[in-house]
C-alpha cells in the first residue's frame, strides 16, 4: 500500500479551488448583483455584503466540510460508505481511507504561489491596523470621559467624531465639533456613532477586509466600498429612527461636512471622489421612503446549511473527480 499526499493538503487544494470559483463567479455577477443590492434596506445590504466579502472563504470551508461529511455518515451508517463505490485508484477524501494519490508538482507549486500571494496581500492591511491601534491608544490616553454616555471627549479645535476600536469600540467627539453643532445635530451624530458601536461596524469592516483577500482586487474594492456605504446608511437609518426624523440626520451630515476644510474650487473636481458621492447617497437615502425588509437572512443561512448536508455526497464525489486530475500520474 502506497502513501499519498496528506488529506489536509487535498482538502486545502479543494478549498482553494472553491474559493477561486466563488471569487470568479462573484466578479462575473457583480454588475448584476449591485443594482439588486441597492434596493435593499441598508442594514440587510450590509449583512449580505459582509457575507459576499467572506463568500470565497466560506466556500472553501464549506467544501472541505462537505468532503468530510460522507466519512462521518459512513461511521454512523456503514451502508453510506462512499469509498466502496469507486475503484481503489480513485482519490479518497476520507478520514477512514486516507488518500493514496500524490499531488502533482505543478499543482502544488500553483497552490503554494496562491497562498503566498494572499499572505503578501494581507501585509499592508495588517501594518495599517497595527499603526491605527497605536494612534487610537494614544488618543484614548489623551481623551477624557465626556458627560455624554459612552463618549470620550477630545480637547481639540479640529472637527471630528468617530467610533474607534475593534473589540471594545469607543465614541470620540472633538470639542471643536461639539461647540459648532446645534443640539439636535449633536444628537444625530451621537445616535449614528452609537449605532456603529452596537453593530460592531469597525470589526465587521475588518473581517470583510480579511475576507476580500480571496477576491480579485477590483471586486474587493467594489465590495468594500459598497459595504462602507451600507454601514453608514444603516447607522443613519438607526439615528433617524432614534430621533424620529430622517431630515434631522441629513441636516447633521451636511452640517458636519460643511465644517470640514474644503478644497479650493479649482481643485474640487479632482478631490471630490467617493466621499462626496457617499454624502449624496446618504442624504438621498435618508430623504427617500425606507425600502421594505424582505426574507430574513437567517432562513437563507439555514437553507444553505441544509443544502450542504444533503448535497455533501455529490460534492464530495465531484471534488474527488476534479482533484484526481491534479494527482501525480
Amino acid at each position: 500500500m502506497t502513501h499519498g499526499s496528506p488529506l489536509g493538503l487535498w482538502l486545502g487544494i479543494a478549498g482553494l479551488l472553491a474559493a477561486a470559483a466563488m471569487s470568479v463567479a462573484l466578479a462575473l455577477s457583480w454588475s448584476r448583483l449591485r443594482p439588486l443590492l441597492a434596493r435593499l434596506a441598508p442594514a440587510r445590504r450590509a449583512r449580505i455584503l459582509t457575507a459576499l466579502c467572506l463568500a470565497p472563504l466560506a466556500a472553501a470551508v464549506a467544501l472541505a466540510l462537505a468532503c468530510l461529511l460522507p466519512s462521518l455518515y459512513a461511521s454512523l451508517w456503514p451502508g453510506l460508505d462512499h469509498c466502496t463505490r469507486h475503484a481503489d485508484e480513485h482519490l479518497h477524501l476520507c478520514l477512514v481511507h486516507p488518500p493514496q494519490a500524490m499531488l502533482g508538482l505543478t499543482a502544488l507549486l500553483v497552490a503554494a504561489a496562491a497562498v503566498v500571494l494572499v499572505l503578501v496581500r494581507a501585509v499592508p492591511g495588517l501594518v495599517r491596523l497595527l499603526r491605527a491601534r497605536r494612534v487610537l491608544a494614544r488618543l484614548r490616553g489623551l481623551s477624557v470621559v465626556a458627560d455624554l454616555p459612552g463618549v470620550r471627549s477630545v480637547d481639540s479645535d479640529a472637527v471630528f467624531s468617530f467610533t474607534g476600536g475593534l473589540l471594545h469600540p469607543d465614541i470620540y467627539l472633538s470639542r471643536g465639533l461639539r461647540e459648532q453643532l446645534a443640539p439636535t445635530q449633536l444628537a444625530a451624530v451621537l445616535a449614528h456613532e452609537r449605532a456603529h458601536v452596537r453593530r460592531r461596524d469597525v470589526l465587521r469592516r475588518h473581517l470583510a477586509q480579511l475576507g476580500v483577500l480571496l477576491h480579485g482586487p477590483a471586486t474587493a474594492h467594489a465590495l468594500l466600498s459598497a459595504l462602507e456605504l451600507a454601514c453608514e446608511e444603516a447607522c443613519d437609518a438607526e439615528a433617524a429612527a432614534s430621533l424620529g426624523d430622517p431630515a434631522e440626520v441629513a441636516q447633521a451630515i451636511v452640517a458636519v461636512a460643511r465644517l470640514k476644510p474644503r478644497p479650493p474650487p479649482a481643485l474640487a473636481a479632482g478631490v471630490v471622489g467617493f466621499t462626496a458621492e457617499a454624502l449624496t447617497h446618504r442624504v438621498t437615502a435618508l430623504l427617500a421612503p425606507p425600502p421594505s425588509e424582505a426574507t430574513s437572512s437567517r432562513w437563507l443561512l439555514a437553507g444553505a446549511v441544509v443544502a450542504l448536508v444533503v448535497l455533501a455526497p455529490a460534492l464530495h464525489h465531484a471534488t474527488e473527480t476534479v482533484l484526481s486530475l491534479l494527482a501525480h500520474p
Binding site: A132, S156, T163, H196, A250, A268, V271, T275, A276
Partner: protein, 117 residues
C-alpha cells in the same frame, strides 16, 4: 519630564535619585535626558561639569502639542483601519455640492410642511 516639571530643573544625578524606585541606571537617565533635549522638549545649560536640564514647555503646553500630533495623525487617516467616522475624516465636499444637498433637504422639509397644512 514629571520630575523636571515639578522641580523646574535638575541634572542627571538628581533625576536618577528621584527615579530610584524604578531601578533604572544612571546611564539610562542620561541617555533619556539627551534624547528629550534632542527632541527639543528640554533645554540645558552647563554648570561646572554637569548639564542642568529644564523643560522648554509647560506641562499643559506639552500635552497640547502631543494631542495636536495625535489628532493630526487621525485626520491624516493613520487610524482609519480601526475607526468609522460620522463623515469621512478626509471628506472634502465642495461648496456647490453642499449647497445641492442642503437644497434637497430644504425641498423635502418644504414638501412635508406643505403636505401637513
Amino acid at each position: 519630564m514629571e520630575h523636571l516639571w515639578a522641580r523646574g530643573s535638575g541634572d542627571v544625578k538628581s533625576v536618577h535619585v528621584a527615579l530610584k524606585a524604578r531601578r533604572i541606571t544612571l546611564n539610562t537617565v542620561q541617555s533619556t535626558l539627551r534624547r528629550l533635549f534632542d527632541k527639543q522638549l528640554l533645554r540645558r545649560e552647563k554648570v561646572s561639569h554637569a548639564h542642568i536640564y529644564s523643560p522648554r514647555l509647560t506641562r499643559s503646553e506639552y500635552h497640547r502639542q502631543v494631542l495636536a500630533d495625535v489628532v493630526g495623525d487621525v485626520l491624516r487617516g493613520e487610524a482609519d483601519a480601526a475607526l468609522s467616522a460620522f463623515v469621512d475624516l478626509a471628506a472634502e465636499a465642495d461648496e456647490a455640492h453642499l449647497r445641492t444637498l442642503e437644497q434637497l433637504i430644504a425641498n423635502r422639509l418644504q414638501t412635508r410642511s406643505g403636505g401637513a397644512t
